[in-house]
């Protein structure tokens, strides 16, 4: 019997640090485990006894790459508990800041973290030596996303202007104008990015995922819509716990989320696209068609194209919001504390992010639960590895190791944001 064990100790270019273990016997992959070296930070524990108003700023610190997603899930869950709806221009501004995060985070992943895999570089710094113009375009595009967040949020990372009920200060119309100029250029770069990524060489590998994402009511989803799946799930965020569960399994280093009775599922750009492609803007739809995406894409390596399409959509949508923007009379709606439980799921760049808070009558958090996208996707990432790696076993170790890393990076796992990831002794197996 031949035993082949490939270990990658530090997985570069995923946010945070992880390790991966693949064990093969007699030419077939037996198991694939993604291990995360992320010390626990206990957010759900120290959220207890904080005021509901503090959750957006505190949970933002779970992840510096997608703080807006944490803030949005927190404010929507709190508003759900307090029984208020934030509509009109304030709702539009929330979509706008989310556009900024998608542009920034997706572009970071596409250019700095993912494209080097397809073009044979160790990272963007090395890639920049041969393709300075392309890396420059990526940085400019990313900056357009950052500009939205900085203007609406006060700064790029951990924005300070988001609050339960709305914003501390709503922007004036004229403040948004320079942003529109930058976004028009960004839209061209985004279109060029779709075409650029569509030309990469992709391994011919598909998987039969159950896609899970919000389904917007005629709009591509950021923070609102029902939780839907490609196999017929259709529920509100309040029903999440009835249909999904997280398990703390001994062989793994992380809490793994599953659909009860069915198993692993995938959230993120592939899932959003599969469930909402028809709601993309005409320009983004056309670009997706030209890139050969079809109505759904089940090849995780091609997720880089779907991310580019979403960046294009986010530029388009941001421009629409700015063009239609009317200054709200007040920057936030009134809120009254009450004892209740609130639920929300929103679409972080890398996948669905679920928050649930139980509040006391005086507005304190009695219980908090947060399910980040990476712990939802981790079982699917491991399935990808198990499914694909058998075909690569004859490659030299280095090449095989690199393919496995790529397989993980396909899903842009933000390891810091998986609040539950922890260090664990690994069973090295046979």
């Amino acid at each position: 019997m031949t035993v082949k064990t490939i270990k990658v100790d530090q997985l570069a270019r995923v946010e945070g640090e992880g390790a991966l273990k693949v064990i093969a016997r007699d030419g077939v992959v037996q198991s694939a485990e993604l291990n995360i070296f992320e010390p626990p930070r206990f957010f759900e524990a120290f959220l207890r006894d904080r005021m509901y108003t503090e959750a957006p700023d505190i949970t933002a610190r779970i992840c510096g790459i997608c703080p807006v997603a944490y803030q949005m899930s927190a404010v929507h869950a709190m508003e759900n508990a307090l029984g208020v709806a934030v509509d009109g221009p304030l709702r539009e501004l929330r979509r706008l800041i989310y556009c900024g995060e998608w542009i920034e985070s997706h572009t970071l992943h596409i250019y700095m973290l993912h494209a080097p895999d397809f073009l044979g570089y160790e990272g963007a710094i090395e890639m920049a030596r041969d393709h300075a113009d392309i890396v420059r375009r990526g940085l400019d595009l990313k900056r357009a996303g950052n500009s939205i967040i900085a203007l609406l949020g006060g700064r790029e990372i951990h924005p300070i202007n988001v609050r339960v009920g709305g914003f501390y200060r709503a922007p004036r119309r004229r403040e948004l104008q320079p942003l529109a100029e930058e976004l028009k250029r960004a839209r061209d770069w985004a279109l060029a990015t779709v075409r650029w990524t569509a030309g990469f060489d992709f391994p011919d590998m598909e998987r039969d995922y159950e896609f899970v994402a919000l389904r917007g009511d005629g709009e591509y989803p950021f923070s609102q819509g029902r939780i839907a799946s490609s196999r017929g799930l259709d529920i509100s965020a309040a029903e999440y716990d009835e249909h999904f569960e997280e398990t703390h399994v001994e062989h793994s280093t992380a809490l793994h989320a599953h659909i009860k009775t069915r198993g692993p599922y995938l959230t993120g750009p592939l899932a959003r696209y599969a469930l909402n492609a028809a709601s993309l803007s005409p320009l983004a739809r056309e670009a997706a068609r030209e890139a050969g995406l079809g109505s759904a894409c089940a090849n995780p390596f091609r997720s880089i194209i779907v991310r580019a399409v979403e960046v294009l959509y986010a530029c388009d949508e941001a421009l629409r919001i700015i063009a239609d923007y009317e200054e709200p009379e007040r920057s936030a709606v009134d809120l009254d504390a009450r004892a209740a439980t609130g639920y929300a799921a929103t679409e972080a760049p890398r996948g669905m992010l679920y928050h649930r808070y139980q509040l006391t009558a005086d507005g304190k958090i009695a219980d908090a639960r947060i399910v980040p996208p990476t712990s939802q996707n981790q079982p699917s990432i491991e399935e990808d590895l198990k499914t694909f790696a058998t075909a690569w076993l004859d490659l030299p170790d280095d090449a095989l190791r690199h393919r496995c890393e790529q397989t993980i990076r396909n899903h842009d796992p933000c390891i810091s944001c998986a609040t539950h990831f922890l260090r664990l002794e690994i069973d090295r197996g046979g």
Binding site: E44, E156, L424
Partner: protein, 259 residues
């Protein structure tokens, strides 16, 4: 022709959200320039390529929360000529230092189904509690402008210019209306270290102290003012207990209201 040896930069992560090292990737223009002058020897978020130490400049993000990390920072210190902490986690222990005020076993049981799988220390501590730190950058997150200043100062062999005054002074410089005087909004600006450019007051919001305490802040006097604005002990305790909860001045002041 051989180029002169470029200084080697390393970026290290401990318990954190990655936001501070992301600030380095956010220095879009400067990054390409900086990349020409220094050799990025260890920055896993940006590249798989790693180069052996020793390193000329180590930027450290995150706090120490595990026994393994307590040992790792010793090793990094040995390999680094200069070591700079970036952000509130590395400089003060971060938001995860809230465990220092609680029982970590209880925390573990709240979050995890199988607490016995978890290995963690009872406290989250700053890098400076473990090794000598050559310079500390404040903020949750740090400002990219200050980060560039630190790297440039290091390249030029001079001391970084990061003003030690309060956020209040930055408000005056920016011409902001004082939110406390103007709207009666509670604000930690008078005791908080400068660096952000007084972002929150510019957005009609009080400062929540993400840059941590300035040197010798008068926290009792501020707390007296805040209680006149209607904050009770519990609210005062919470306002000092966020991203810099374990910084000395904020910890002591929060403890005065913990009853």
């Amino acid at each position: 022709m051989e180029r002169a040896r470029r200084p080697k930069l390393a970026v290290w992560k401990f318990a954190s959200c990655d936001g501070c090292q992301l600030s380095l990737l956010d220095c879009e223009d400067e990054l390409l320039e900086v990349a020409g002058e220094i050799e990025i020897a260890h920055f896993l978020e940006a590249t798989r390529a790693t180069i052996q130490g020793p390193y000329d400049l180590s930027l450290v993000e995150g706090s120490v929360t595990t026994a393994h990390d307590a040992a790792r920072i010793q090793e990094i210190r040995k390999q680094s000529r200069f070591l700079v902490t970036i952000g509130a986690c590395a400089t003060a222990g971060g938001i995860q230092a809230l465990r220092n005020f609680a029982d970590v076993r209880e925390y573990t049981a709240i979050v995890y189904a199988r607490p016995d799988y978890i290995q963690t220390l009872a406290t989250s501590t700053a890098i400076g509690d473990h090794v000598k730190v050559d310079f500390e950058l404040r903020g949750c997150p740090i400002s990219t402008r200050q980060l560039i200043e630190v790297i440039s100062a290091f390249l030029a062999g001079r001391k970084p210019q990061t003003p030690p005054h309060s956020v209040c002074v930055e408000c005056k410089i920016a011409g902001n209306l004082c939110v406390m005087v103007g709207h009666g909004t509670p604000c930690l600006g008078p005791v908080t270290h400068a660096g952000c450019g007084a972002v929150c007051p510019a957005y009609n919001r009080g400062c929540y102290g993400c840059y941590g305490p300035m040197e010798t802040p008068n926290t009792p006097s501020l707390s007296a003012g805040l209680s006149k604005l209607g904050m009770d002990d519990d609210a005062l305790k919470r306002i000092y207990r966020t991203f810099n909860a374990n910084a000395d001045a904020f910890r002591k002041e929060s403890e005065r209201h913990d009853r």
